[in-house]
Chain length 124, copies 2
Amino acid sequence: MDAPSRLADRMQRGDVFAPRCPSREVLKHVTSTWGVLVLIALRGGTLRFSELRRKAAGVSERMLAQTLQQLEGDGLLVRRSYPVVPPHVEYSLTEFGQEAAQHVEALADWIEERLPELAKAAEP
Amino acid sequence: MDAPSRLADRMQRGDVFAPRCPSREVLKHVTSTWGVLVLIALRGGTLRFSELRRKAAGVSERMLAQTLQQLEGDGLLVRRSYPVVPPHVEYSLTEFGQEAAQHVEALADWIEERLPELAKAAEP
DNA sequence: GTCCATACTTACCTCTGCGTACGTACTTAC
DNA sequence: GTAAGTACGTACGCAGAGGTAAGTATGGAC
């Protein structure tokens, strides 16, 4: 539970409790406001940029592009661009992305379901 | 074409895709950098402030206090303070907190396990 | 010709996440 | 007397999150 004593151990498995562990970076991307929504939205299948933008209501183009690049950099989604006249780009989850999205959606679902009870318990 | 009675149904469950939904607030707290670590740390049982601080390496006192207050406000953990000479405060998860922490830990665990594969797939 | 849609990028500006440093009130240890 | 541990609160400041507006290239609708 404490700081890993061996360098080799750290390379084998991540440790979110360790400040320098790259797993914190991935976790940051996956649990970011827009990262969560993008992952869940893409669980339904491939989507285009503008479709994602409409689905994750409230996201700006800037943040959506940045979020997509981060998740692509983490190997969680793939970008397919077709060189056609009106730009056409498709985003879909990799196998890793599917697994991550599953966990993220489970959490989001739980919050959505429990929200009324939480709100009631939190402010009496 | 208005159905005010149906609106109440919408209030029953959260929707993270809706910008104004309070579930986004809870999600923000739960998935924040320190929120994640606190929830996971407290799955092992009750902990004191300084114990949490040591466990979640890298957190500042300021951020830990703020994170704890947010999670308490969401009804995910309870704070018990004993009026003794050196301050003694205990934090533990509520039932809701246990459930939330379970999902969060599942996600963190997944990232920790897949990290080497992700890193390999992400930088060719 | 003008407007719109697509998938971005860049410049600019605001807001807040977060660390640092210090203060508090008290006790124990040196 | 000084330091340290406990559980915070507060003031300061930087860096990054994140919104808005504009630009790019191109074809179709009007």
